[in-house]
Amino acid sequence: MNRAIDRLLWPSLWAATLLFLGWGVVPRATLFTTVLSPARLIAVAALVKLTLLSLGALWSWRARASIEADNPVRPAWTLLASSLLCDVIGQAMLARYQLRGEQAPFPSAGDVFWLVAYPLVGAALVRFVSAYHHAGYPMGSRAERVGLIVVTGAVCAALSFVVLRPVVMAEMPALDKALSAAYPLLDMALLVPLALLLRTTWHFRGGSVGTAWTLVLTGFVFMCAGDVLFAYFTALGKTGLDPFVHGSYILSYGLIAGGVRKHVALLAG
């Protein structure tokens, strides 16, 4: 069963990502004006995202369950699983509309769960960094880590200014504007622990630990990219660019699920 999932996951992920990229690049291609109409593609995207997020949450929980109670990474897996579960609930709330071919509301109750997911995943990443640093591996000095936090924080602050400008300038209701700004801001904040964990796990490159983390962290980077694109396109009213947003999220959730799956294999294999 697990091998079948492994064999199916990656080709399906690349195919789904390419499909949405194709839709974005050549929206008037026959395929996208006949068989795969925009409404159907949005329904497909909803199902794919829901499936990938559910797999990510399930496998994170399995990783947590595979590890002993006093292991320092267990709380981190609990937090990551909880965060992905919040994403599953948020996505399920949107999918209700998307599967019926209706316009998903923004904001919606799903946004509450998307927002709660951020502190959970941020805390998970920090717990992973802390556990790995206390495991006795030589991974550089505290000063280097502080330096990385400062540099990443400064870059993210500068990026936030660029990303938020069209959102703040856009004419939209206050709550819509606040949420459109909150997602990229939270993503920028998330990039700081992401950079820390990326630097930490970079030391394990070439091994299965390094590969698993590269996949998970690249997934989170694409999630941030998807959020930024969503905020940008919403503010600019460019709904025609939605395929790229869907593609970013599908790739993101797939990489996260695939990376977590590799962690589970590491724990149980």
Partner: protein
């Protein structure tokens, strides 16, 4: 036992999981801390080295799997079980 040979065996066992770069660095650091140097290493020092590396592996693969990974090394290199 020849230190270089024992260290090489240990590095080879953990490299698939944590990569060659970290396997070498972690082993070197623990050897320094444990006072392991060329040309010879005692079975007790090997056991200590394996135990230190096993502790590090637990965060990635759990106690049970880390122990089962290191067990053949203990048997082969003569560390206490």
């Amino acid at each position: 036992m020849v230190t270089a040979q024992a260290v090489q065996e240990i590095i080879a066992a953990i490299t698939p999981f944590i990569g060659e770069n970290m396997a070498r660095s972690a082993t070197r650091v623990h050897c320094e801390k444990l006072g392991i140097s060329d040309p010879h290493v005692t079975p007790e020092q090997v056991e200590l080295l394996i135990a230190r590396l096993e502790t590090g592996l637990k965060v990635f693969m759990g106690r049970e799997k880390a122990t089962s990974l290191m067990q053949p090394l203990r048997a082969k290199l003569g560390g206490a079980s």
